[in-house]
């Protein structure tokens, strides 16, 4: 499995009133193949920009993102994004089955393979019974599961997940977090996951990068998360880790208030 690398990535955007604003400054990091790598940081710190660069939606002003030696310069089926705005991410005129099948059709996969993959991943996300439904008939949580199945059916190397569960209610969110952790273990995909939720980050990740507050955001610290399983808030190591991370985030927020 290839590693996703960011080499000296700097990103500047033009400001409406002229000049530029630097969102990311000189970020170098490596997401090891097969790991569940989470980017955690306060809102507006440029997490999504970094993910968009990995997806190939945006080109960095300086530096580059690459998969091992292959520079990323455009979106491709080896890297699939799971969007938070699932209402727009799913194709409303296609039913659940047809949405999941979309990437396979693009790859000109045979009908037999399409059926096999769709069956498999709809089963995995627990939506086998709902294959004929259209997105507007589904709840937010179900839609997000369709999006996950659609991505997995296409068998990408990396899933890029931009706060996928942030818009869901607390109970659905918790359910999907645990479900998704199982799915990740089953499929072994490399995951770059964005969140501002410390609990979610600790529950899911193998690696956790805490970003500093933007503008000029950088990676402040990378933790390897090796907590006692099952990961429960009542576990001593979980609680300790949570307060460590919380401390860093608080510091970052204070800094941005002061400046």
């Amino acid at each position: 499995m290839r590693n996703l690398k960011f080499d000296n990535v700097t990103m500047q955007f033009p400001r409406a009133e002229g000049g530029t604003v630097e969102v990311l400054r000189d970020i170098t990091m490596e997401v090891e193949g097969g790991s569940f790598f989470t980017l955690l940081g306060p809102s507006g710190c440029g997490k999504s920009t970094l993910l968009n660069i990995a997806a190939g939606f945006e080109k960095p002003t300086q530096g580059s993102a690459s998969l091992d030696a292959e520079t990323i310069d455009r979106p491709g089926p080896d890297r699939t994004v799971i969007f938070q705005d699932v209402g727009n991410a799913l194709f409303p005129w296609l039913n659940v089955w047809e949405n999941v099948e979309f990437g396979l059709k693009m790859a000109k996969a045979s009908a037999a393979l399409r059926k096999e993959r769709c069956d498999k991943y709809l089963e995995l996300v627990g939506l086998s019974e709902d294959r004929g439904k259209f997105p507007f008939e589904l709840s937010g949580g179900m839609k997000q599961r369709v999006q996950i199945a659609r991505a997995l059916a296409n068998d990408p190397e990396i899933l890029l997940m931009d706060e996928p569960f942030a818009a869901l209610d607390a109970i659905t969110k918790r359910y999907l977090q645990t479900e998704f952790r199982k799915i990740w273990k089953d499929t072994g995909k490399t995951i770059l996951y964005i969140t501002h939720d410390i609990f979610e980050a600790l529950l899911l990740s193998t690696h956790l990068a805490v970003m500093s507050t933007g503008p000029n955001a950088t990676i402040r610290e990378i933790f390897k998360i090796d907590l006692q399983e099952p990961r429960l808030t009542s576990n001593r190591d979980f609680a300790a880790m949570h307060s460590t991370i919380e401390g860093i985030i608080d510091e970052e927020v204070q800094k941005s208030r002061a400046s």
């Binding site: 997806a55 939606f57 979106p75 491709g76 089926p77 890297r79 699939t80 994004v81 969007f83 705005d85 727009n88 991410a89 799913l90 194709f91 409303p92 005129w93 296609l94 979309f102 990437g103 693009m106 790859a107 259209f134 507007f136 659609r150 991505a151 296409n154 990408p156």
Partner: protein
């Protein structure tokens, strides 16, 4: 539920006709504002002698030809405007200017350019229809959610797939709205053109009735326009809903610019 809606519809129609009937005698001269029973009689008469069919057919033929031309070019131009920023910047200002000029005002110009025959009628109808179709198509094509396009790119869709499988279906509800609005405009255009220069058609029938002082026939023509408008709108809505229910699910409410 169904009976309730039908009875409300009947009540509404009865109230409209009732107000019309009474006001002809109370507020107006019945020789100028003709009561509904006389209009109905006249409609029956011109239906029997074939005059009605002749006029409706003449107008309908013009509308179909002009509307189809307007739709083809309108959807084409609207798509280009929606896709390319430079086309939008170049074409939007003149289109904004032109959309405020009523079709009635261009009838004389159309006659000078295309003569007194069918050509000038088609031109007026194309003019009336193309503008709402362009604006709605451009809005739909240009308004395709970026996330939808990006999602397709992540699933391996190329340029052509993105256009045909994402942009076009996303734009359908908007295009359909444009087509519906344009159909109403087409009838307005054809009547305007026929009033100034024609020897058949519903617009001609209304104008001729006035000139010959046949107020009942004039009202029959006006009434007919309303009926044709409602009928064709229902028809196009029914057809498009059947054909494109999948694409209409994108939206829950009506959209569109006129």
């Amino acid at each position: 539920m169904k009976y309730q809606r039908l009875s409300i519809l009947a009540l509404s129609a009865a109230a409209f006709i009732g107000v019309w009937w009474i006001s002809t005698y109370v507020y107006f001269n019945p020789k100028i504002v003709v009561p509904p029973n006389l209009v109905a009689e006249t409609l029956w008469e011109i239906t029997r002698n074939g005059e009605l069919f002749e006029h409706v057919w003449a107008s309908a033929r013009r509308v179909v030809v002009g509307y189809v031309i307007g739709a083809v070019f309108g959807i084409g131009l609207g798509t280009i405007i929606g896709l390319y920023r430079i086309a939008e910047e170049l074409l939007e200002p003149p289109l904004q200017f032109v959309r405020n000029i009523t079709p009635v005002a261009i009838v004389p110009l159309a006659i000078n350019l295309f003569g007194l025959d069918e050509g000038s009628k088609y031109a007026v109808i194309v003019y009336s229809t193309i503008i709402p179709i362009i604006f709605n198509t451009a809005g739909g094509v240009g308004g395709t959610p970026q996330i939808r396009i990006r999602a397709a790119m992540c699933l391996g869709a190329g340029q052509a797939d993105i256009f045909f499988r994402i942009v076009v279906p996303s734009a359908w509800p908007f295009i359909v709205t444009g087509l519906r609005i344009a159909l109403g405009f087409a009838f307005m255009g054809v009547v305007a053109a026929e009033m100034i220069a024609a020897d058949e058609g519903v617009g001609f029938m209304i104008m001729q009735s006035r000139n010959m002082f046949l107020p009942a026939q004039m009202f029959a023509g006006i009434f007919l326009l309303g009926m044709i408008g409602v009928g064709t709108d229902r028809l196009i809505r029914f057809a498009l809903d059947r054909l494109m229910s999948r694409y209409m699910m994108t939206l829950n409410s009506d959209v569109g610019v006129t």
